[in-house]
Symmetry: C2
Subunit: 307 residues, 2 copies
C-alpha cells in the first residue's frame, strides 16, 4: 500500500502543506504566515491545526502516513531537529521543532532548510533526476541554492552551505544585509530587478510578472530586460560552476518563469567566461516541480530517513 | 609488515618522488621536468627510470610496495586512469598513464590531480586531520584548491572541481588565461604578487622570499605587502566559504610561508564580510606537510583504492 508523506513548506508569506504520494502532491492547503507570526508557539499551533484538519478532511488513515517533512526558511540543524534561526520570522531561535511536532502530530518528523527541500524534490522527482552533482538555484527575493555533490545533499557542517546569493561579484559592490558587499543577490534578487524594471519601463508599479508577459508579447524592451537579467545570472554562476564542476544548474523561483528569456544569455556568459571543461558539461535546466517542489522534497527527506 | 607507497608528484618544473611509510616520506628524489618535456613518452621513461633506480638504491623489496600514486598538474580522469590534459606540459592529451605505468613498473598505480593529492595528504596526515569538510588552497603561480566535502574528496563529474583561483572577483577585472575576467588568481597568483613587490620596493629583481625575510625583520613596507596580500586572499575566500560552509581552510603553496603575516588580514576580512555562521566556524590553518604533502597524499590515494 502506497504510503503518504505530509510536506510542510514554511515561508515568510505563506505556509503550504500537502500530502505526497508516489512523488506527486495529491492535495494541498495553505495559510498566511503573517497572522501567526507573533510567537513560534502561535505558528506551530496553526500548522498543527492545518495538518490535522487537512488529514481529517481527506479521511486519511494515520497508519498510512510514513512521516512529515518540514522545510523552513533559515538555518536548520537537521541532525538535532532544531530550528537555529529564521531571519525573516521573528522569535525563532533554537526551537526544537522536530520533537514538538512529533509529540503534537504523532508522526515522525524531519526538518530541512527550505531550499534544500526543494533541491531534494527536483533532484529525485524533477529537473535533476539522474544527476549526481548539481546546483539547484532559486531566484526570488532571496537567491539561494541547494547543492547535490557526490550523489548526496551537501549541507555543510553548520547546515549553512548553498548561499550562492552571497558569493560576492564585486568587492566594491553595494552593501548586503549579510555583511558582505556586491553579493550576487544584490544584482539578481527580486527587489533589485523590480527597481530596474520600474526605471526601465518608467512605471513604479510594474511587476516582474508584467515584464514577463510583455516579453511573451515580443516587446523589445522586455526581452532586453530579461536578457540583461540572464547575463547577470550568468556572471554569478561562473564562480560556483568553476569551483564545483556541476553536471547541471537547475533554475527555480519566481524569475524562473522567464527561463526561456534568460537562459540564452546565461548560457552565453557561461560559455564565454567559465572554464572550458566546466562550461562544456554543465546543463542549464528549468525547475520542473514549481510550487510542489518543497512538498515533494519532504517525501525524499522522509524516505532517506527510513533507510 | 609496514607497506610502502611510492609517491610521484609531477610538476611543470620538477618531478618529485619518494617512498612513503606510515604517513611519512622516508626517502625523496627529484629531477627537472624540462629536460624530458618533448613528448609524454620521454617524461614517462624518465619517471620510470627514476623510480626504479630509487628503489634499487634503497634495496626496497618490491613485495613491500602496496602501490604507486601519481599527482599531475591538470585534468585527470581518476576513474579511467587517464591524463586528460596538462595545460603546462605540451603533448599530454588523453594519455592512459595508469595502464602504461602499471605495465612498466609492475605495481598498481593510481592517478590524481596534484592539488587533490596534496589535499588528501593534508586531510589525512597534516593540517586537515579530523575535519569532514574543508578547502585546501595552494597559493603559487597557480591558485587552486582541493575540496573535502561530506568526508570525501570532491572531484566533480569532470574531475575539474576546486578551481578556486578562477572564481571571478570582479566582472570587469583583468583578463585571465582561463577565458574569464577578474579571476581570484589574477589578484593573488605569484606573478601578480611579484609585480606588485617589484613596484612597491622599486626593485625589479626582488622575490617573494625576499619580502618574506624583510617581514621577518619587521620592516614596515614588507609587513604592509603581506597584509594587503592577506586582504586579497580573504576577499577571494568569502564566496567559497559562504557557498560551502567549510570547517577549515588550509593554506599551502609558496605564499603560505608568509602565513603568519597574511593570516590576521585574511581572518579580519572573513569576519567582516562572510556570513555569520560560516565566518564563526571556519578555521584558517597553515598547511603542515610542505613539500611532502603530495607524496603523503599518494599513500592516501593507494590506501583508499585498497578498501
Amino acid at each position: 500500500m502506497e504510503q503518504y508523506v505530509i510536506g510542510i513548506d514554511v515561508g515568510g508569506t505563506n505556509v503550504k502543506l500537502g500530502i505526497v504520494s508516489a512523488g506527486k502532491a495529491i492535495s494541498r492547503a495553505s495559510f498566511s504566515t503573517q497572522e501567526f507570526i507573533e510567537t513560534p508557539q502561535a505558528l506551530i499551533e496553526a500548522i498543527v491545526k492545518a495538518v490535522q484538519s487537512h488529514l481529517r478532511g481527506r479521511n486519511v488513515d494515520p497508519k498510512r502516513v510514513a512521516g512529515v517533512g518540514i522545510g523552513l526558511p533559515g538555518l536548520v540543524d537537521v541532525e538535532r531537529g532544531l530550528v537555529r534561526l529564521l531571519p525573516n520570522i521573528p522569535g525563532w531561535r533554537d526551537v526544537p521543532l522536530k520533537k514538538i511536532m512529533e509529540k503534537k502530530l504523532g508522526f515522525r518528523v524531519q526538518l530541512e532548510n527550505d531550499v534544500n527541500m526543494i533541491t531534494l524534490g527536483e533532484w529525485q522527482y524533477g529537473a535533476g533526476r539522474g544527476f549526481k552533482d548539481l546546483i539547484c538555484m532559486t531566484l526570488g527575493t532571496g537567491v539561494g541554492a541547494g547543492l547535490v555533490l557526490n550523489n548526496a545533499i551537501y549541507r555543510g557542517p553548520g547546515f549553512a552551505a548553498g548561499e550562492i546569493g552571497h558569493v560576492p561579484l564585486s568587492e566594491h559592490g553595494p552593501d548586503c544585509g549579510c555583511g558582505g558587499h556586491g553579493c550576487f543577490e544584490r544584482y539578481v534578487g527580486n527587489k533589485t530587478l523590480q527597481k530596474k524594471a520600474a526605471k526601465m519601463f518608467k512605471d513604479k508599479d510594474i511587476t516582474l510578472e508584467d515584464v514577463y508577459r510583455r516579453a511573451l508579447d515580443g516587446k523589445h524592451r522586455a526581452l532586453k530586460f530579461w536578457e540583461e537579467t540572464g547575463e547577470a545570472v550568468g556572471h554569478g554562476l561562473i564562480g560556483p560552476i568553476n569551483m564545483l564542476n556541476p553536471e547541471a544548474v537547475i533554475i527555480g523561483g519566481g524569475v524562473a518563469r522567464s527561463f526561456e528569456f534568460i537562459a540564452p544569455a546565461i548560457r552565453r556568459v557561461i560559455t564565454d567566461r567559465a572554464m572550458k571543461t566546466q562550461a562544456a558539461m554543465v546543463r542549464l535546466i528549468k525547475a520542473r516541480l514549481d510550487d510542489d517542489a518543497g512538498l515533494i522534497g519532504a517525501k525524499v527527506l522522509v524516505q532517506n530517513e527510513e533507510r
